[in-house]
Symmetry: C2
């Protein structure tokens, strides 16, 4: 039931049987149908979701009603509005399912408890946090320094699975572009890629 989650966990920090059992007590499984929300703007993000199966996205809606996708997440990735989750402030993000999903939920209470009582959870979380930061730094650097063509090439290079499973206009939104512009980039660089 929590296969992907624990395989990811053990890949970062090796757990004993009893530690794995302890962590398991804090987890909640949840299924989400395509288009269902995990979080809506205005709510507090009460859980972080780890994806066992499926695909999700987080996005914000600007003052003109336009959606801007902040992130995608597939199997083995976590998603949630960390800022809202940790500070328990109202979120400005929406998170929903792009496909039918199987999730592992970690509540704020579970998170806080595990930080105290399961030292390896603190380590695991620190490592995920660091990796997420490095990935986001890479994305920021590519935004401020690369041409659109190169940014798209590097995206499909880094996340081929997302390109396969997510409609192109959403990838355009993630890059901060109009769908038409992304379509033209693809025709420029040869859409075979």
């Amino acid at each position: 039931m929590y296969d992907v989650f624990f395989s990811k966990f053990n890949e970062k920090v090796q757990l004993s049987e009893s530690e794995e059992y302890a962590v398991k007590q804090f987890l909640t499984p949840k299924k989400l149908r395509k288009r269902q929300y995990l979080l809506q703007e205005g709510d507090i993000c009460k859980t972080v979701a780890f994806i066992e199966k499926g695909a999700m996205r987080s996005y914000i809606v600007d003052s003109d009603g336009q959606e801007h996708i902040f992130s995608f997440a597939l199997e083995g990735w976590a998603i949630g509005d960390l800022s809202s989750f940790l500070t328990e402030q109202i979120s400005t993000q929406n998170i929903d399912a792009l496909e039918d999903c199987e999730l592992v939920l970690i509540s704020k209470y579970a998170h806080d408890q595990m930080l105290i009582s399961v030292p390896k959870y603190a380590t695991f979380f620190r490592i995920l946090m660091t990796e997420a930061y490095i990935a986001l730094q890479k994305r920021t650097l590519s935004i401020i320094s690369m041409s659109l063509d190169d940014r798209y090439k590097s995206f499909i290079d880094q996340y081929p699975d997302i390109v396969q499973r997510v409609p192109q206009h959403m990838i355009a939104s993630h890059m901060g572009l109009s769908p038409e512009t992304l379509s033209r980039i693809r025709s420029r660089i040869g859409k075979s890629q």
Copy 2:
């Protein structure tokens, strides 16, 4: 000598006298003159620098030789190429001093030792990491969803001290803009701000 560092540390995680002493053994003070490098492209980032006094920036140079500023850091902030520091791979970033600086350096060895032997350091690092991630997320959201005028307004709102101490063309670079465009934004929104 490490006043700002420990004041920041204690603000996040309260240290006892003996813990503070233990941490101190792992720290190295360093002074840097304006324009001096902490890290140059092609080197491995061997230390994270915590700023006691002064101002620094990190930037990358693209294939056309153009500089793109990734981040600024003032007193109380840390700077370094985390990706290079943690993986010990060659860095693509440059980090130098915008003003004469007093730094507290944490080497990779010191970092790893403290993660093991000083549990509160692990907590401190996790908290800094999380805050850095949230700040970077906010920046990314503003890039993909806000107008340039609003992005600049939100920047001067959030980092008035940086606007005071750093030349405008560097802030333009940080936003991914030409200096001329930032100048025009400022004249549009009334540069009084």
